[in-house]
């Protein structure tokens, strides 16, 4: 089923665009929060932002494309006897492949800014794979609901706009008031952002507690998404 990704290969021609977009965002956020609202406690502010933007961009793209994966491929759902689960999951994986360029950009900048490679880099793939697992779970839920209620994709878009502010992308997690920290940490994307910063900027391993948290939330979400999808796919044929 992995050959599904062939399908998406032609769409990822815009390598330049996928790098340019985070660079522009990084520039804008650096100017706004580095110059207009100065935040002097953070060194290498642009890279700090990019550590947040890359995992965030991946999640945004993966969740959005997975949400519409079924309604965009009615033909496959209604006419081909292939496992339908593959559609949202393939969208998430395709987003992961596209984001690889942004990851390369991030790592290059980290090295250019003199942060060097450290042993903890081996943790990075784990973090990102767990984020991918989480995105698959979310995508399975939202794509199947989107078949029943076509407004779902717009709800997903709005939720993402809101959550951009609730993930510590342009601010450090340490300024979040203590009583909200628990809720913040439930969000796997937050965990991935912070873990990425721990590794790349502070050269230390992400705390064990947040890794456990990340593993549990991602796997539970995947199982939940799988359950929802299997239940809901019985009526896909009629509704698409």
């Amino acid at each position: 089923m992995k050959d599904f990704k062939i399908r998406y290969r032609n769409m990822s021609l815009g390598v330049l665009w996928s790098i340019l977009n985070p660079l522009v965002m990084m520039g804008v956020l650096t100017i706004v929060f580095g110059r207009i609202f100065p935040n002097p406690s953070i060194e290498l502010f642009p890279v700090f932002i990019l550590c947040g933007l890359v995992p965030w961009n991946f999640f945004t793209q993966a969740w959005n494309s997975a949400t519409t994966s079924l309604t965009d491929n009615v033909n496959l759902v209604k006419r081909v006897a292939a496992p339908r689960l593959a559609l949202p999951i393939a969208s998430v994986i395709a987003s992961g492949l596209q984001i690889a360029f942004q990851i390369a950009l991030l790592l290059t900048l980290v090295i250019i800014f003199g942060k060097g490679v450290n042993l903890y880099w081996v943790w990075l793939p784990l973090l990102w794979v767990l984020e991918l697992v989480f995105a698959c779970g979310m995508g399975l839920v939202s794509s199947s609901i989107n078949v029943y209620i076509r407004d779902t994709r717009y709800i997903v878009e709005s939720v993402l706009v809101v959550f951009f502010w609730f993930v510590p992308i342009f601010y450090p997690a340490s300024i979040i008031p203590q009583r909200y920290q628990g809720i913040y940490m439930l969000n796997p994307v937050t965990e991935v952002v912070m873990g990425t910063r721990n590794i790349l900027l502070e050269a230390k391993a992400p705390p064990t507690s947040s890794l456990i948290n990340l593993v549990v939330v991602s796997l539970v979400m995947l199982a939940f998404g799988f359950g929802i999808f299997v239940r809901m796919q019985r009526r896909f044929y009629e509704l698409l």
């Binding site: 599904f4 399908r7 033909n75 209604k78 006897a81 292939a82 029943y148 896909f236 009629e238």
Partner: protein, 261 residues
Amino acid sequence: MRFTDRPERAASSSEAFIEFCDVSKIFFRQSERVLLGRYVKALFQHQPRDRFYALKKVCFRINHGENVAIVGPNGSGKSTLLSLAIGLTPPDEGTVTASGRIAGLLELGSGFHQDLTGRENVFLNASLLGFTRRGTEEMLESVIEFADIGDFIDERLRTYSSGMTMRLAFSVAVNLSPDFLIVDEVLSVGDTAFQQKCFRKIDEMKRNGKTLLCVSHSPAMVRRLCERTLWLDHGELIMDGNTEDVLRTYEGEMLERTKTP
């Protein structure tokens, strides 16, 4: 559904069958229901949903080595029946049982991507049907040879005519060597030469104990390919039997209907 080892394939074809037992399929007539506003509205005012039977208590069994056609006017449930046989949707009542490998060709170009070349599409399509990459490479030559579309195999699919798309799709489907080939009115797009080639291929498959289940509006094609015919009308199985008998009655009835509007 992994089709890699041959012995299993041989075993499954000897007992392959499709059985419909009292199968009904219900469709609802409200298409806008998939919008959020509809759900909100339904919360406040209860509307009975208009439903109709796309299939009603349909019963039949198709054994291997039997070529079967389905005839009937538009909207009589033919395609729905094929979708149920392929397993795209479950029945609302009754049971559908199928064993053996099924290759379905329901609509031209489904499972194909317009931006990929013909060759890439063969891989895509085969992987959708559960073939491994290696298995596809092995059969690639025979697919291309059978489709016989020349250099177009390396062109993007959007440059194809519908006949060429059909050639490629059909060629992939038959080269998967399925126990059941399920075809929905696709063959009529091909030119006479290719149709003859398809007929010969289907004959050959039949000799190997394979089965064709097709929908067709062409009596000539049905007579040529199938010895058994099912006649569907308004979701009900009107007649099931020898092609010649069924077609004679069916054509008589249709003629009757055109006379008295």
